[in-house]
Symmetry: C2
Subunit: 295 residues, 2 copies
Amino acid sequence: MIHKLSELSEKARHKPKQKIAVAAAEDELVLKSLKSAAKDGIVIPVLIGDKTNIERIAQSIDFDVSGIEIVHNHKGAAVSAQMAVSTIKNGNAEILMKGLISTSDLLKAVLDKENGLRKGDILSHVSFFESPHYRKLLCVTDVAMNIAPDLNTKVHIINNAVEACHKIGITLPKVAVAAAVETVNPKMEATVHAAELKKMQWHGCIVDGPFAIDIAVDKEAAAHKGIESEVAGDCDILLMPDIEAGNVFYKALNFLGGAVSAAVIMGAAVPIVLTSRSDSEISKLYSIALAAAMD
Amino acid sequence: MIHKLSELSEKARHKPKQKIAVAAAEDELVLKSLKSAAKDGIVIPVLIGDKTNIERIAQSIDFDVSGIEIVHNHKGAAVSAQMAVSTIKNGNAEILMKGLISTSDLLKAVLDKENGLRKGDILSHVSFFESPHYRKLLCVTDVAMNIAPDLNTKVHIINNAVEACHKIGITLPKVAVAAAVETVNPKMEATVHAAELKKMQWHGCIVDGPFAIDIAVDKEAAAHKGIESEVAGDCDILLMPDIEAGNVFYKALNFLGGAVSAAVIMGAAVPIVLTSRSDSEISKLYSIALAAAMD
């Protein structure tokens, strides 16, 4: 069982170091998090972008990049993304990271049919929380990419999250399909999806629901309502109904819950680190560690 | 500014005591919370239901009901609800509380066209949070009643929450219309509703959005994203996109956020206290205090 995100940094530190290809690395916050990650011995950065700008920004934050591979590109961020993807395809890096580039431009390079990093059918956002109010890491998905996933998309979202869990050592994650209530109500699609998902054959995970959040994370609440399930009160993965519920939950824990989170995009050939400006420094560092800890 | 829910108990204690009519009061948890509320001098209970059962349960929890008005009814919970509603219509109580009765049976009595307590167009659930991570009470709505409110329903939901704020002394609440992002995206109805709601004429409140939760409650996050709004980072009311997002947020703060909450149903002639079994003791007590503190 993993209790803290720092265990992921620890894990990444004690395995053969992975390389992280950074698309459009000329970004102060991104370079700051890479400075920490490199110093902690979590990853080896490969910086792709405008070399002059990268070196200038690195110097301004006291990040010595003299020993770090910089792949120069002056043709703009979209080309940097293509080059980062090629770096990975050529076996010269195992993780992709977003720099000063829009998410859609980065994903365009990832999803390119010929030269991209396609693997599964769906890319999805997979986050892991360390909460002072939960006894182990809590994986939450999808809070940022898939707006209103249909049943089939939810299957892929679950599989992506389960794969992430397996890769960091959570061998048989318990998946709670989150909703507002525990009974199936045709007016609430999330509950209908939950009933369908529960019926399917799953490998490497246990799926149950619909559960409101209290039932999913609190054994006492589950007992109060007479719900018997090995997932109830002990879930590893929370599948969110849609992007609104997911995002609201993610931000509630991060901004009003004293939690810390890490996140990657799963579903491509390699994990993608895609931090946002409002993420805390530590959250950015843990996101890199999460990707680097994956086997 | 109200910082803590205990201020509501304090307020209720120092004003003329209100009577709370309890529909089907023969419930241990409900009587426990009424025992605390009566002891604290917050309300005067009027217990409606099976007198023998009420007295037996009261005795088992050491609640002396000898000085408390009990209105006997042996014809079942639905009739108790009608009698509780009549008690209020006759001016003998100012608050309605749900006992051992289904929510739908209780609301049927409330919404009865001739004998009910109808006032506005929409009943909605209004909750108030005391969070260790927010500097004042945070009102969140609707997390339990309206499943997928349309624009017009959202107007009523906002007005109900604003009325609740006014009644406890929050004179000009700032309403953040919550969503997953800050830009209007036709694929995300919450953002479209937010833009419409923002354009409307409001009285007694300020409405802005769409805001993700970090923007709504965290000034630094708002500044990071360059969002200038007197609501951003300082909201009093969070309007949730739908019941899934609302419920997930509510449960996240209560079960993973170290928060305490109180809630009432607004939109009828009087506030309705409708606690659920999984609510903590203190949360039930604060819900009674919230209703009793209203002017």
